[in-house]
Symmetry: C2
Subunit: 249 residues, 2 copies
C-alpha cells in the first residue's frame, strides 16, 4: 500500500488576517479532501504580499503532494495570486485564450482591462472551471489555485477532484462521554493510544464553563476500519469498567 | 513613530486540519489584536505533531514581535503544546507551583495524573489566568500559549492584553457599492491604491452567483485617520463620476 497523498492549504488575503472575514475554506477543503483519503497536514494564512505568498507556495509545494490555494484571483489591484504563482514557478503569465473566450462571452462590451486580468494564467497551467461567476481558477504542477469566495471555491472543487490521486479513506468513530471532562478519561485514552499507534485518538471537551451539560467527545481514526472498530470496543469497555458511560455518535 | 508590533498566530490541532472543527480563534485574535494596533501578519495551522509544532514556533517567534498559539494544553496524551514550547526554547518543563495550587483547589481528590500534566510550564514561563476552567495558559518570551476552546481562549486574552506593547490603531472605512461587481470598480480602486501607498485598499464582492443583490464592499485602512478619510472622499467622488453609487457603512 502506497502512502496516502498529503496536502497543504494556503489561504491568501489580508481580510482573513485582519479578522474582517472568517475563513471557512480550510474546513471545507479538509472535509472534501479527507473524503478522498488525502491528508491535509498543514495550512498557512498569508496577506496580499508577494514575497510572503511566493515563499509559502514554494515551501508547501516542495513538501506535499498537493497545494490548494484560495483567494486573490479577482480583478482588483490586490488580486496578485496568479502573479505570485508564476513567479514561484519561474514562468510567464500570458492571457489564456480559453479564459479570454469564457470572459468575453460573459461580459461582452463590459470586458474591461480589470476583468482581463483574470485571464492571465501561468504558462503551462490548465483552467479550473468556475460554474458560478465563470472566471476560472487554474492548476499548475501540484498547485490548485481557487477563488476565495466560499461558494465559488466549493464549486471549483468539482472540477479539481477527478485530477487527484486518492488514498484509502479514513474511518472515524466518535464516542460521547457525558458528565465528565477530559481529565477523567485521559488515562484510559492515553493507554489506548499507546496500545494502537497505527490509529489516532482525539479528545474534545464540550460545555465547559457554561451552564449546560459538560462532557468529552473521543474520536478514534484510522485507515483500517476493523482496527478502528476493535479499538472503539476496547476503549468503551475500559471506560465502562471505570463507571463512565459512553455512547456512540 | 516606531513600527507597529507584528504578530503571528499558530493554531494547533488535528481536529482543525481534518475539518472536524471550524477554527474561529484566528479571527477572534485578529480582531482583538487589531484593536490594540498589533498587525497579524501570518497564521499557521499544524497538527498534533512535535516536529511540526517546534519548527513553526521557532520560525514564527524569530520573525514576529509576538506569537499566539491556541490548542493542545489539555490533560490528554495528544496535548503536547507545552512539551513542544519547552523543546523550542530549550528549557525544562517542571510543574509550576502556582498552577499546582490552582488545580488542587479546583479538583481536590480528583486531581489525578492526567490533570497534573496541565501544571507543567516551560522553565521561566509565567501563567496566563483561565477564569473559565482554571487550568492556566502561559507566556514564555514573546510566545503566548492559550487554550483551543474558543471561550477559554477569549477569556485568557484579558490577562494577555496588559502585557502587550500596542501600536497606533488602524482606522478602517467600508464603502458599499451596490449593483456592480469588482470588475466595474477595479480601475478606480487601483488608481486610488497607487496614489496612496501608505494606505491599504481592499475589495470584497458579495452576492455573486446567488439570486440576491450583488455588489462590492471597498475597505480603506490605515493608521493615519485623516488620510483614510481623505482617500475615502476621493474614492467616493471618482466612483460617483462614473455613475456608480456608493454608501458608507
Amino acid at each position: 500500500m502506497s502512502a496516502p497523498p498529503t496536502a497543504a492549504v494556503l489561504i491568501i488575503g489580508d481580510e482573513i488576517l485582519s479578522g474582517r472575514t472568517q475563513d471557512t475554506n480550510l474546513s471545507t477543503l479538509a472535509r472534501f479532501l479527507g473524503a478522498l483519503g488525502i491528508d491535509v497536514l498543514e495550512a498557512r494564512v498569508v496577506g496580499d504580499r508577494e514575497g510572503q505568498i511566493v515563499e509559502a507556495l514554494n515551501t508547501l509545494r516542495a513538501a506535499h503532494d498537493y497545494v490548494f490555494t484560495t483567494g486573490g484571483i479577482g480583478p482588483t489591484h490586490d488580486d496578485i495570486t496568479a502573479d505570485c504563482v508564476a513567479k514561484a514557478f519561474g514562468v510567464a503569465l500570458p492571457e489564456h485564450p480559453e479564459a479570454v473566450a469564457i470572459l468575453e462571452r460573459r461580459y461582452g462590451d463590459d470586458f474591461n482591462v480589470a476583468r482581463r486580468r483574470m485571464t492571465r494564467i501561468p504558462q503551462g497551467g490548465t483552467l479550473i472551471a468556475n460554474p458560478v461567476t465563470d472566471a476560472p481558477g487554474f492548476q499548475i504542477g501540484n498547485v490548485f489555485v481557487m477563488a476565495g469566495v466560499p461558494k465559488i471555491m466549493q464549486a471549483m472543487l468539482e472540477d479539481v477532484a477527478p485530477r487527484l490521486r486518492t488514498g484509502a479513506v479514513v474511518h472515524a468513530v466518535t464516542l460521547r462521554v457525558a458528565g465528565v471532562g477530559e481529565g477523567a478519561v485521559a488515562d484510559v485514552l492515553g493507554q489506548a493510544a499507546r496500545a494502537r499507534r497505527d490509529l489516532s485518538f482525539g479528545s474534545y471537551p464540550f460545555g465547559h464553563g457554561s451552564v449546560g451539560e459538560i462532557g468529552t467527545q473521543l474520536v478514534v481514526r484510522g485507515r483500517d476500519a476493523p482496527a478502528v472498530e476493535e479499538a472503539v470496543g476496547e476503549l468503551t469497555a475500559a471506560l465502562t469498567v471505570q463507571g463512565i458511560s459512553v455512547s456512540r455518535l
